[in-house]
């Protein structure tokens, strides 16, 4: 009897495997749809970036398909969750290219994920629009790789410009050990001398740490005039809280990696007074009426908030990537990978949530420093400074 039980269990396991195989075979394409593949970190430590990205893509793709697609091509959307792991990103991009045979890939929520798959998309000649921050993704320029978010270099420059205005000359740097943090730290160290700023402390923490008082105590002992925390996820919120707890009164700067309501929620009152560079999206209603981005931003914000709740700039990056693709396909008049790539590169004057994109063969991002706004957190809300 026992033996039969075991056999039945086994049979059910195997039949499950075969069943999935057949359902997959049935899900074959019908007419000639545009296949958009995406790999996003919807769960895991970067989930607050990946989650709004996926929601944005799904929402707008459904809308485009309801209107009859792009030039008659319906969009077929294939998505895999990388959980923020480079290894999974690599496997899934392989799968998107070799099994799903997609025409373009949007995603790679984190810099680590994006950098891991560049080599694959380059070899397979599939256009790839990254949603991650690191400047290494597009510099040096790679033929098939584009990105929509501002770079860490731009963030560092924007922060230092603001510091210079306030007369801050000595800065304590504190960063995490993730890809975004490390790349940001390198950019800060490289850019600081150009703005006449001296980095007097260079502390690091593990992104999984739950207390950063040790590093901050060391910073307190220096003659720094401001603290710059380049990081994302929950760690910067802990840094902000620890700074309050230690009674450090210095001005605090964060990177664009915390431009999400989640950060204010986590840091609570400790977030007040913190300055950061971010895309205009989170302060859309504070923009002057003649701002060219205002209309796009408010439309996106309204649509997203009606369905899911507060917007973050990260979902905006996905919006930009999707509509740069849509425009490119419209102009190309075909869904040929090479033609789509050429048209993406010719993107000019595209008004997105991140800024106004002007791409070229030497610039696969197409944003300049004006795309960043300086923001201060006041009373638990974003306040546009300039």
């Amino acid at each position: 009897m026992r033996f039969f039980k075991n056999i039945i269990t086994l049979l059910s396991v195997f039949s499950m495997i075969f069943l999935t195989g057949t359902t997959m075979a049935q899900a074959k394409a019908k007419a000639k749809p545009l296949k958009i593949g995406s790999i996003l970190a919807v769960t895991g430590p970067a989930s607050f970036l990946g989650d709004p990205e996926l929601k944005t893509l799904k929402m707008y793709i459904a809308e485009i398909n309801a209107k009859g697609g792009i030039n008659g091509h319906k969009i077929e959307f294939v998505h895999y969750d990388t959980k923020g792991k480079a290894k999974e990103a690599k496997n899934f991009v392989n799968r998107l290219i070799k099994k799903d045979k997609v025409d373009i890939i949007i995603g790679g929520t984190t810099s680590g994920n994006s950098l891991a798959v560049i080599d694959l998309v380059q070899r397979a000649k599939v256009p790839f629009i990254s949603l991650a921050g690191s400047i290494k993704i597009v510099e040096p320029v790679k033929k098939w790789v584009f990105k929509t978010p501002h770079t860490d270099k731009m963030a560092a420059e924007k922060i230092f410009t603001d510091m210079k205005k306030r007369g801050i000359k000595k800065v304590a740097l504190i960063t995490g050990n993730g890809g975004f943090d490390k790349s940001g730290r390198a950019q800060c160290l490289a850019m600081a001398p150009k703005y006449g700023i001296k980095i007097v402390a260079d502390e690091q923490y593990d992104n999984a740490d739950t207390d950063m008082t040790t590093q901050l105590t060391k910073i307190r002992a220096t003659d720094a005039q401001a603290i710059l925390n380049f990081g994302f996820g929950k760690a910067p919120a802990i840094v902000a809280k620890n700074i309050k707890q230690l009674g450090i009164k210095l001005p605090v700067y964060e990177s664009h990696g915390v431009a999400s309501k989640k950060f204010i929620e986590l840091a609570g009152a400790a977030a007040n007074g913190i300055r950061l560079p971010a895309a205009a999206l989170i302060v859309a209603d504070q923009l002057p009426a003649n701002d060219p981005q205002k209309k796009v931003l408010l439309a996106y914000k309204k649509k997203f908030e009606a369905k899911y709740g507060p917007v973050s700039t990260f979902g905006g990056h996905a919006y930009d990537a999707l509509f740069i693709t849509v425009d490119a396909v419209k102009r190309a008049g075909s869904i040929d990978r090479a033609k789509i790539r050429d048209e993406i590169e010719k993107t000019h004057g595209f008004v997105g949530t991140g800024g106004i994109f002007n791409m070229s063969p030497t610039d696969h991002l197409g944003l300049n420093l004006s795309a960043f706004k300086m923001i201060e957190i006041q009373n638990g809300n974003w306040k546009l400074l300039y």
Partner: protein, 317 residues
């Protein structure tokens, strides 16, 4: 010959698969991952299954091989094969030096020590950014070529990894049936008993530890060239645990058990992905069901059942 009939059958199946399913994603892409995992599971099984010494840091040796190849070929322009050999040599020395103090420990303490080793190596990969590229890893490894033929397609990699995998399986099967293998299973049973039988236990243990680390290191180098990319995450503590799971799932102490375990754990996530959000749940449920009903491991349990049935049949007639 009868002893190796299982191996011959397995080898024929591996060779025939790409001809039966040419250009199939599950064969040429997932197959490569499966092969690498089989090599690692088989090498871990030498240590865990045969000698009964638990290791929670096997991914470290795999990673050291991969990083040696990546760093030496990219930063110093060393020939890929020489880099692979250098990585293996480094791992050989390291594992030999570590083997004696580590393997003197038993049970939980051995688990802790190997776990520590795995974590230290992982931290090194993340933090030594000058050398290892930090969490972003290193990409752009040169193409490996064999006898002047560049290994640049999935199919070519299939044959390379397939041959190395078959070699490891053959090696592992042969060890089991040798004097060394019997010494190992004696140690597995009882250290003291083995010593009274005249087995130099610390020597045998450290030899198998070094062998197993070497196999993992070479697999790491091949993996790095095949992926064209290394990052610390592929060699984290969790991957070590995954390897242990493969060995235990298939059946501790059996080479083909390790093969089946590695195969299942690599193919299941790929197949279950259609369930999207429930993928992890179903995956976990399958593992639990197998371990509850077949605690000796999938392969070992089925083999035992089959021989039992067979002998009963023969006995009746």
């Amino acid at each position: 010959m009868k002893r190796l009939s299982g191996f011959v059958l397995f080898a024929l199946a591996c060779i025939a698969t790409p001809f039966i399913f040419p250009d199939n994603y599950y064969v040429t892409v997932v197959g490569l991952t499966i092969f690498v995992n089989i090599i690692l599971a088989v090498s871990l099984n030498l240590l865990m299954g045969y000698a009964g010494q638990i290791s929670l840091g096997h991914a470290a040796f795999f990673g050291l091989g991969a990083y040696s190849s990546a760093i030496l070929t990219i930063k110093y322009g060393v020939n890929p094969w020489a880099a692979m050999a250098a990585g293996a040599l480094f791992v050989l020395v390291l594992s030999y030096v570590l083997a004696r103090p580590i393997l003197r420990l038993k049970g939980h303490y051995l688990a802790m020590a190997t776990l520590g080793l795995g974590i230290i190596v992982h931290i090194f990969f993340v933090q030594a950014d000058q050398l290892t590229g930090g969490p972003d890893g290193i990409s752009g490894l040169p193409t490996l070529s064999l006898f002047g033929v560049p290994i640049d397609s999935d199919m070519k990699w299939y044959w390379v990894l397939c041959s190395y995998m078959l070699l490891s399986v053959l090696f592992s099967l042969n060890i089991a049936d040798s004097r060394a293998g019997r010494a190992l299973s004696a140690i597995h049973g009882s250290d003291i008993a083995a010593e009274t039988m005249g087995i130099n236990t610390s020597k045998v243990k450290s030899h198998i530890f070094v062998f197993s680390a070497l196999m993992a290191s070479v697999a790491g180098s091949l993996f790095a060239h095949q992926q064209n990319f290394v990052s610390p995450e592929s060699f984290s503590f969790f991957f070590s645990i995954e390897l242990v799971t493969m060995v235990v799932l298939g059946g501790l102490g059996s080479t083909f058990g390790a093969v089946i375990g590695a195969f299942l754990l690599s193919i299941l996530p790929e197949v279950l992905i259609v369930f999207e959000d429930f993928e992890v749940l179903i995956f976990g449920a399958i593992l639990i069901v197998i371990m509850i009903f077949l605690p000796e491991g999938l392969f070992v349990a089925l083999r035992n059942k089959a021989t039992m049935l067979l002998s009963r049949r023969l006995g009746e007639s």
